[in-house]
Symmetry: C2
Subunit: 187 residues, 2 copies
């Protein structure tokens, strides 16, 4: 996606040797037109799949998932990062964030995902794959089928995509970062 790649190069900020901040258009301020184009592009790439729900994690995944869900004409469900007070009605999984170096819980109500669902997981970033694997785990608990994974920005030098493809998943990333050099992004 040309628009996305241009934004990464012009507005992305490289911090240290492995963190890319895209708070200007994806993670804090959000470019709604970019979200629309992302929705259309994922629809194009996954159009042959008979999807019933779009799945993501709060908060950064929601804007993306909203436009993707609109294109597919299905609802989205976002996993919550806070553990609900009563766990009975929720599927939960643990996710390791290597960026923040800590583990957190993600939970989804049993009411909104079940064995009849065929889902597309979407998220903003893919690095080690922790968040998507957590969502995949919740889908397995629910008996739902994961038909694909749509990622906006993949860190191609990390192992997330390999891990997911190893599970037999179709992974589509709209921009793949090869690495960082002198504080610049190499696409």
């Amino acid at each position: 996606m040309k628009l996305l790649k241009e934004l990464i190069l012009s507005e992305g900020k490289v911090i240290g040797d492995s963190i890319l901040k895209v708070d200007g258009f994806l993670n804090h301020q959000i470019d709604a037109n970019l979200m629309y184009e992302i929705g259309k592009e994922f629809k194009r790439r996954f159009k042959d799949l008979d999807i019933t729900k779009i799945i993501t994690i709060e908060a950064s995944g929601i804007a993306i998932a909203t436009m993707v869900a609109y294109e597919f004409g299905v609802p989205l469900v976002f996993a919550k990062k806070a553990k609900p007070s009563t766990m009975n009605n929720f599927y939960c999984s643990k996710v390791m964030s290597y960026t923040k170096n800590k583990e957190y819980d993600i939970c989804m109500s049993k009411e909104y995902i079940n064995k009849n669902d065929r889902v597309l997981i979407v998220d903003d970033f893919l690095a080690m794959g922790g968040a998507v694997v957590g969502l995949y785990d919740i889908m397995e608990q629910a008996g739902a089928e994961v038909l694909g994974v749509g990622i906006v920005i993949e860190k191609g030098f990390q192992t997330g995509a390999e891990t997911l493809k190893g599970k037999g998943l179709k992974v589509e990333s709209l921009a793949i970062i090869k690495g960082f050099q002198d504080g610049k992004v190499i696409l």
Copy 2:
């Protein structure tokens, strides 16, 4: 909005005498087509305003704000509920949640809001007005002008709308709940 009102009546769950759960289409599972219609409706109601940014709070405001921002052709910025590790570059405010009976911080980077901005605040619920007043406070700190407030579901029997109108704000709510009776919503 007919579609919204129908969904509130058919899928909303009344808990106790003041809480309405709409996790089936707004707060956990999200009806993307409803978000699209909400975006168009807010555009219609605020079309004469020269808005530069849509402002909301994570997580439930994001899906709404994404569609509203798309309709206006401007970016959205969502306030974060976590306090950033370095506060220097953020505006913050405290919000009292009466539903959860606790106070929390909301923060927004100084980079994405400034004195040239004319904003529309959107949110899922309006009850006592705490969240919107917190956002309004952040806009004041930034010197940005608040041109209006768009609410999906207002609890008309609470004082939030009055508080906001008292600040001279134009408030538009797409559904106004008069009260709850025998576990049912009265619109």
